[in-house]
């Protein structure tokens, strides 16, 4: 019996070894395959490229790219009839090209750009019963985008951005670079050898903000006044047409060498007096100016879901009066994108609260919702009282640009002219109506006054689509 007991005991221990072996095999399989097929595509672009190459090759003969429609459901891009890849008619093939981008795979590598690149998982790889990809609804107004591209940019290099004041939804983000990128023809995008031709103006172009930065300088000054109850003459400045910051030999002049004499903040803002703001910046101080810039998220990344991340920077920090002065009137080393400038206007329009911009409203496959965007606050930039005073300044400036209250309603704006590298002049007008904020940006301008007409047309169109 003892022999038998020993045999059984040995058998039991061997069964346990078999159990361990089975567990090892199962864990190795689940771990290995879980890593290979689930985890690695999430963490490795190479694995994701492999996954999507395999998927793309497998489905390309029967899958139809999903539709991209505007906020009202108007088709921007669709796979018509026998075409498996989506197609956009004119003018959308140009006006939306930098927004939509492309998606291709070759040799195990993904090539992506714009919304079609980042939404490929839904547009191409989430098929409905008819083998068509999911429908992506944008926040954009197709008519406004087409109008902005065709009539306002009108062949010029630049961008026009319109953002809803209360939601952060992008109503228009049209760009034109040095090439005419047709979204149906990838060669029109890739064949150019001009540097920066492929950058989407509006989101990737970091230039100095020019005088649009005076919005922030003014905000910082008003805030200082509120907190410190400054004397009445704090905002008074006698302009002689030039200003040399202490310890510097660099002289700041006004646009067209204009001289304004003794002026207050409202006059200086309306006339964009560089010397006034250079001096104001120094009197405000670097810390407050920097704090205000950071409150408006300059130096911080802002994500536009599925599209890109906006980058910006400021070089305030060396305590040098010349740096503060330059920054305060919008030159120096501050760099910002036009969409970010539109967001600054949006924050002022929205009682000082900046919202996250978004361009994808929803994604649906048939009746099944796959994604839905909701407004999201980025943070408060300025207090309500500062906001009220800023609005007054910007409204007066807007009237100066021909945006009369009688004709256009309440419009608030600030122009800017930035001197960039290679003697290029970047002109802007940022502002907002009761409904939407905007930034008109031209890369190779002469003076921001050239944008008045375009801005007036844009504001008129915005008012129309909002029923005003």
């Amino acid at each position: 019996m003892t022999n038998r007991r020993n045999k059984d005991s040995l058998a039991k221990s061997r069964i346990r070894i078999a159990e361990l072996a089975a567990m090892t095999v199962c864990l190795l399989f689940t771990g290995g395959y879980g890593y290979k097929y689930i985890v690695s595509p999430l963490i490795s672009p190479q694995a994701r490229g492999t996954q999507n190459t395999i998927t793309y090759d497998a489905v390309k003969d029967y899958a139809y790219e999903g539709d991209i429609v505007d906020k009202d459901g108007a088709v921007i891009m669709s796979s018509y009839d026998q075409y498996h890849t989506a197609y956009a008619y004119e003018p959308e093939c140009y006006s939306f090209s930098y927004l939509l981008g492309y998606y291709t795979v070759a040799n195990g590598r993904e090539n992506t750009y714009g919304l079609r690149g980042s939404l490929a998982d839904w547009l191409l790889f989430y098929l409905d019963d008819h083998n068509k990809g999911a429908t992506v609804t944008l926040t954009v107004d197709k008519g406004l985008q087409d109008y902005a591209y065709t009539n306002l940019l009108a062949g010029q290099e630049g961008s026009i951005t319109v953002i809803d004041n209360k939601t952060g939804a992008i109503r228009c983000l049209t760009s034109r670079s040095t090439i005419s990128y047709n979204v149906n023809d990838l060669d029109s995008f890739l064949s150019s050898e001009v540097e920066g031709a492929q950058f989407r103006r509006g989101t990737y172009e970091n230039d100095p903000p020019g005088s649009t930065f005076k919005i922030l300088t003014a905000a910082a000054a008003i805030e200082k006044d509120e907190e410190e109850n400054l004397p009445d003459d704090f905002f008074t400045f006698t302009d002689t047409g030039s200003y040399t910051p202490e310890g510097s030999s660099w002289t700041i002049t006004n646009w067209n060498d204009a001289v304004f004499g003794t002026i207050d903040l409202d006059t200086a803002f309306r006339n964009s007096v560089n010397c006034y703001f250079a001096d104001l910046g120094i009197r405000i101080g670097q810390d407050r100016l920097l704090k205000t810039a950071q409150a408006f998220r300059i130096g911080k990344d802002i994500e536009i879901p599925f599209l890109c991340t906006l980058h910006s920077k400021t070089h305030l920090g060396d305590e040098q009066p010349v740096t503060i002065a330059q920054t305060a009137f919008g030159q120096g080393n501050t760099e910002i994108t036009p969409v970010h400038l539109a967001l600054i206007a949006q924050a002022v329009a929205n009682d000082g609260v900046m919202l996250q911009p978004y361009v994808v409203s929803s994604v649906n496959s048939g009746n099944m919702p796959l994604y839905r965007a909701f407004p999201h606050k980025l943070g408060r930039c300025i207090s309500h009282t500062v906001d009220v005073r800023l609005k007054e300044l910007m409204h007066h400036a807007a009237e100066n640009y021909g945006l009369s209250e009688d004709y256009y309603g309440m419009v608030y704006a600030k122009s800017g002219t930035a001197e960039c590298a290679n003697d290029r002049v970047h002109t802007y007008i940022v502002g907002f109506t009761e409904d939407a904020s905007f930034c008109v940006s031209m890369n190779n301008g002469h003076a921001s006054a050239d944008l008045y007409g375009i801005t007036q047309e844009l504001v008129a169109y915005i008012n129309r689509i909002y029923g005003r």
């Binding site: 045999k7 039991k12 346990r16 078999a18 159990e19 089975a22 097929y37 996954q51 497998a58 098929l127």
Partner: protein, 465 residues
Amino acid sequence: MLFRKPDSTETMPSAAETVDHSDRYVVTSILLEILYAGILFLKGADLALTYVYALIPMLLITAVFGTYLYNRDADMKLFGAITKLTASGIALQILADAVYHPQTTFSLLKYGISFVFLFFFLVFYRLLKKLLNHPFMIWMSLAASAAVYIVLAIWGIDPNGYGTHAWVRIAGYTVQLTDLTKIAAVLFYASLFSSRHEHTDSGILKISSLFFFINMAGSIWIKELGSFFVLYFMHLSILLIFMDHNKTKRIYIISIVAASVLAVAMAFVLYKWMLPGYNAGTLNSLQLMIWPYVKKIYTRFSITANINMDPYGAGYQLLQAKKALWMSGLFGNTVHFNALPVAESDMAFVAFVSNFGFLLGFYVFLQFLRIFLSGSELSRSLLKYERQDSIVVYGITVILFLQAMFVILGSCNVIPFAGLPIPFLSRGNTFQSIVFAFSGLLLQLSMHKNPIVEEGGDVHDEPAE
């Protein structure tokens, strides 16, 4: 009285006592069965409706038998694994008809037949159990295996065109007879190691080798090596576990493994040597006879090493499986990828992952491990009281687990692929019936894992000598 076990009217369990919550395995099985209805509904209302016809009896069986087994101290983890795998198989097979359009269609009736077969098998085993202690059962099992191969050699058909003759047609139904050799194998080893008939080590090795070679020769004869692989590992593992540990056994097992490796190596050498002759059409009759086997072995191993070797030929099935796995994601592919050959059978696991995703795929995969662990634990506990039952349980467990592993790992190109059905997941009435019968027997024996002990005794005590 669903799920009522603790005799709470008499005593409340003290803090030290463990409350049995194993009824949760019934609940989780029911939830999974309902979850599949939801998933299928998202894929198509008609699919969900077809599933609902199966769901109603499935819920009933899970609840009623779950309650029965729970109240009789059966292994509820095992029950949970079996019911979950069955539900997964049914959901997959319903979906397979819509997605892959296989030659056959899902039949709930066949599940009913399998269920009836299960009861017959349990009665059959109860009657046969005492006979297993007699030496003639060894030879009966051996003869039964041989008879299966002889019948297949004479009347075997190849209804699917796989190149094997493992089926016979009986009254209009095709039956895969090779599956019966698995029952014969379980009975053979149980009888061989029966507690009331001690064989010498040499005797065990000789008799089991005879059984082993009959199966090997029969499998080669009918060109069905897949089932033999399962028996091969079952043979080795049962000898390794239940036979005395001695030098003879060690040499025997090492010899078998070495011979297997050598056979594969030989197949590679022969393939290279015979290929020019085959292409030139100059092979002699003996070479022509062994050529299909040599080629099959060479191809299976080569494709595992390099899946792109023959992408439109022998490697096509595995290449499509690989694509399907890449597209599966956590919740299944979203691109209607349906170019997966034999999705309802050999590729059932890949098809399952492709449609339900890796999350459920791994869950289902781990249920096979659960069966193995429960079966092994049961085998260990039965060893104390009934060696014969212990071997039956272990044999069944090994067959279910190994067959699942061979096909799953093979279809995922981890090991050379063997075209076999996956227990619970694959279509195939004969194998499904045997899987149900084996599962039922495991559950029935799990109710007796802790026999009633005399008052004052301890369940862990050794039985009286």
